[in-house]
Symmetry: none
Subunit: 207 residues, 4 copies
DNA sequence: AATGAATGAGAGTTCATTCAT
DNA sequence: AATGAATGAACTCTCATTCAT
């Protein structure tokens, strides 16, 4: 990806982070090279030394975004004895963690998803990110289905997309914390086979 | 909402539609008063005659967007004999219809959802739209649950949010037609009680 | 002057007065045809029906201004038995009266004096006003000098200009009420012969 | 005032001077950032680089104006042996000099005096200038009165204001050169004690 | 007599980008 | 590696004026 510049300089990194922050708070509409430079404590001219055109900076932010999704992890969830299930639960936990500790992550992702429609360079970065994510989830689901842990009424592929769109949609809508948690739980249960959680009560009826 | 102005002039309407188109294609970043005016075949000055400031136009587009979601309907689905279930199926059909016939609708909605974070006027319009939508779905679900047609393992409220976020998320991710259809089917089945569709095959395994 | 339109319509008069008010408060910079029309309760288009171009309105305001200087009179001062002296005292009293009851008058005059530098039509109106004023004062002074009531160390012409520039200057500088009164008194005494007011104390030394 | 920025860049200075010229010729109404920039041989964008908003430029012009009044001096008048009297005569000579060599100075001052009514930043600059001027004149007058050179029938304070308003008024009215000279002479004599110029003729009667 | 609708020309301001240093 | 200075192009918004009705 950013194979050309193998070792991103400290300055570049800082610029990318500042740009990320500004996109998070003001969207692409509010992203000014001047503001980014100023936030990084350098001049605009210097910014353009590192990123000759604004779009390069934006692509760099997209890559930074991809990376953050990998790096920002919730504390490891307790194992339930099944690797794929554990992985899935960790992912949901991560989602909740992001909501609480780095809420910008999903917002910026949304910004990029929209922008990618008109920017081929971004499309590549984001498509790769999404594909990787999809394959990861699908892998877990297939494993779980083989092991008889997950429901088999839907294909792993469809189920993976379902999970993805659910998570992405949850951050578009501005749901409150409680609702979000309930949704994630419901999502988890929807994947598992009934017998695994027969101890569940009937209708929560929390409304 | 804009009920006060009962009869929006033709010019105003046209401007709003052109603005909608431009947002759909180029995002808010690409929304220029000049382009909108030009697309409507009038001068910028005239645009400002109708919408003194750009933001007014944007709010008008938001209202237009709200309205479109109501207006743009897929052909009525065949009834299965239960009003709430029919309503739900119609909604999912509409979603599919939107994907095919007015794909801009969801894109523009996403644009507005992001922008609403920084624009109070938009927040009101969109929050109202979402709340109305939520209540509508929840109503159907409650009815269906009472009638023993829908699953009762999750509250109608949570389930409604699940559906909403699923639909919204589906349009963020650029899923292909086939996948989208599969997701909507899976969504429908997830809501129904098991016995109602015991004739379903096991694992589609379409991957 | 405004000989063409012999009988200024009520509407026209109203527009002129509103324009005057706006110039008084916001200067020529702030004079917008729209604001004038709005203040008069009519549309811009109608304003342009009466005054095809903005400059016509401005000239009309200049004439209104001229007229106001004549109309706005302080209550008659007590006579001291000499017509010219009385007239002069009345003029000074008027100046004070204007300061208190129609402070806009001088401000607008200043606006017009500056604008007249670039507008020939205004030049004519204002030059006529000033000339008339000058002749009036000079007439009184000459009479007074002949009658031995006024000082004769300066020509009536010069003295008249002196009075005029003093009065005009006083309204440019933003003097407070007390200072203004003191200046006007000093001005009066400067014109009279010493013997007429030998009863005056020596040095006021009010500083 | 603008003492903080000790070394105003050449470009800034040039812009201020061009703005001054334009105000002199076309008033504030005619002051366009584009024209100023063009007159200075640079682009509008560059102008805004130095003066982010037009008002900053205007304040800078006000400061330039203040400074010019100090800088532009007539050749030193011949001394009459009394410092305060000499200073006063120098000031009157300066006024005449301004009329002839930089007639814009007073015009621009009038423009600013009017504008200051609506612009607090200008008010400060101009009020400071006027106050300084007033104190200066008053100081001379007090000295002269103490030394028995100047009339004492009016307080130094009032007399100073009288001189100021006279000078300001003279430039509002468009007096010709001869009249102006006569007024200044009359003003000088009005201040001096009678005995000092007993050699004066009676009535010039130049009308 | 009156106006809603429309507009050309132009205003101040912004911004990514360039370049000499 | 870094920047102050400079700019073209474009932005939103304003305003006197016109014209069909």
């Amino acid at each position: 990806m950013s194979a050309v510049v193998q070792e991103t300089s400290c300055r570049q990194q800082c610029l990318v982070e500042r740009a990320f922050d500004i996109i998070a708070e003001e969207g692409f509409e509010g992203l000014r090279t001047r503001s980014v430079a100023q936030a990084a404590g350098i001049s605009v001219a210097t910014l353009h030394y590192y990123f000759p055109v604004k779009d390069h900076l934006i692509v760099a932010v997209a890559e930074y975004l991809s990376e953050q999704f990998r790096r920002q992890q919730a504390p490891a969830v307790s194992s339930v004895g099944h690797a794929a299930y554990d992985a899935l639960r960790q992912m949901l936990a991560n989602h909740l963690y992001h909501r609480q500790h780095c809420p910008h992550l999903m917002v910026v992702m949304q910004e990029f998803l929209l922008r990618a429609r008109r920017d081929v360079a971004l499309q590549q970065v984001l498509a790769a990110l999404q594909a990787r994510w999809h394959e990861e989830i699908k892998g877990w689901l297939q494993q779980g289905q083989q092991d008889g842990v997950f429901v088999r009424d839907v294909s792993a592929d469809t189920l993976a997309y379902q999970i993805q769109s659910q998570l992405v949609g949850m951050s578009s809508l501005s749901l409150n914390e409680v609702t979000a948690k309930a949704l994630l739980e419901a999502l988890e249960q929807r994947i598992l086979l009934q017998q695994m959680h027969s101890d569940e009560g009937e209708v929560p009826d929390e409304d």
